[in-house]
């Protein structure tokens, strides 16, 4: 049994690399999209605010799995052909973007209004206000939940296995299909996911403590 698992390890490692790659892409892309849309939600004109609100509430209201299937099976029907890997990344990114929008809204919303007004009074432009006044203060509120949410991206990435992408989850199922050693392999998989995510949540807790004091 142990021999078989040892034999499968390089294959599992490849799957693990795909899991990390998917997670990384999703985290980075959603950070960019989410911050931009979040700023639109807080500061944009009414139509943009409504559009972002509807986007966020819709995405957060449906299961990720449905979103993945919708993107994967639905896009070709409207003439967009994406490889399964990119369809999965797109679906997970949409989902994560909605979360990032809410983290940003919460973080920016926690900054007292006087800060913005003071910045305006000394003649800073909108960009300068964001860059020098709002974002540096909102950052400490944004960071801990965001890092905590990275574990969601890693856990969510296991769903891409359902599109036949050989991530860690899919690799485990394939090895089980050959060796019939279900329990040891699922436990091994659980331990790997746990190690990654627990490290991330420890990091987020540490950051939370580091940033928990607020200089008024």
């Amino acid at each position: 049994m142990l021999g078989q698992i040892a034999y499968a390890l390089p294959f599992l490692a490849q799957g693990f690399a795909v899991t990390l790659w998917v997670s990384l892409l999703v985290v980075v892309l959603s950070l960019v999209a989410g911050v931009m849309m979040g700023v639109g939600l807080v500061y944009g004109p009414a139509p943009l605010r409504w559009a972002v609100r509807i986007f966020s509430d819709t995405i957060r209201g449906i299961p990720i799995l449905v979103l993945i299937f919708f993107v994967y099976y639905g896009l070709p029907a409207v003439g967009l052909h994406l490889e399964s890997f990119w369809a999965a990344v797109l679906a997970l990114t949409l989902f994560k973007t909605a979360q990032v929008i809410e983290y940003l809204r919460g973080a920016v919303g926690s900054i007292p209004k006087g800060q913005s007004e003071a910045a305006m009074a000394i003649g800073l432009t909108f960009r300068q206000r964001l860059a020098y006044v709002i974002f540096p203060q909102a950052f400490r509120r944004f960071l801990p939940p965001w890092i905590n949410g990275v574990t969601d991206a890693v856990k969510g990435s296991a769903l891409v296995s359902l599109l036949g992408i050989t991530d860690l989850m899919h690799a485990i199922n394939q090895v089980i299909g050959r060796t019939y050693e279900a329990m040891p392999l699922y436990i091994l998989g659980a331990v790997i996911y746990f190690a990654v995510n627990y490290a991330l949540s420890l990091a987020s807790r540490r950051l939370e403590r580091r940033f928990s004091f607020i200089r008024e």
């Binding site: 299961p63 639905g74 485990i172 279900a182 746990f194």
Partner: protein
């Protein structure tokens, strides 16, 4: 863009989706009921126990929270029966998994709720001569429940969405119904539009109802 929407086939098979939605709700309700039980017991035990028990409970919570739900679903359905001599249906297996899953999240919710009960209330309970058990049941738990109600609603809503993972072990809930129609009629866009609308409407209706309950509860005290 050579695709015209045609919902006829969806309506013909709508019973698959309707039945699936009801099953999704059923799975979520049963799982959160068991999860609340697990969460309450472990949280009360945690706050009064020594270090060893705390470590074990924390290990359970951290393990569940840091592993993908889909892996837990596979582990319980395909893995567990290979080492323990038990047999269960996919549905039972999923309910067991989701209960353990929600239990882990709820331990945290209830534990922080218990710790948020003001010290003065417990002292007041002691002062009027309540036994420790009475203080728990009549003072600590009611206050804790009021504090944790919003978190409970949110957990229930995310469990409702998580029931979609049951489709991977062929439990015929809503997402499974969608896949069935997808594979049998190829009306892909239509079926996922309808299913998305069903998840959204149900989810927000539940949210609205739960917020009403929360408000009533707050007004009553």
């Amino acid at each position: 863009m050579g695709y015209t929407l045609n919902f006829n086939l969806i309506w013909r098979h709508f019973d698959k989706l309707w039945g699936g939605l009801l099953l999704s709700l059923e799975l979520a309700v049963i799982s959160i009921a068991i999860g609340i039980l697990i969460g309450l017991l472990l949280a009360v035990w945690y706050v009064s126990a020594g270090r060893a028990v705390r470590t074990v409970i924390a290990a359970y919570v951290e393990f569940i929270r840091n592993v993908p739900l889909i892996l837990l679903v596979y582990l319980v359905f395909y893995g567990l029966p290979t080492v323990v001599d038990i047999a269960y249906s996919a549905q039972t297996s999923f309910i067991a998994t989701l209960s353990l899953y929600s239990g882990a999240y709820l331990v945290e919710v209830f534990r922080s709720g218990l710790e948020a009960v003001p010290r003065g209330q417990l002292d007041a309970g002691k002062a009027i001569g309540l036994t420790p058990w009475q203080r728990l049941v009549h003072v600590r738990l009611p206050t804790m429940l009021r504090i944790t109600l919003p978190a409970l609603s949110n957990t229930f809503l995310s469990l409702f969405k998580d029931t979609s993972v049951a489709s991977v072990i062929s439990v015929p809930e809503l997402t499974y119904g969608a896949q069935w129609i997808n594979f049998n009629t190829f009306r892909i866009v239509e079926v996922y539009l309808v299913v998305t609308a069903m998840y959204l409407l149900t989810g927000y209706a539940l949210l609205f109802a739960l917020r009403l309950v929360e408000r009533r509860f707050r007004a009553a005290h």
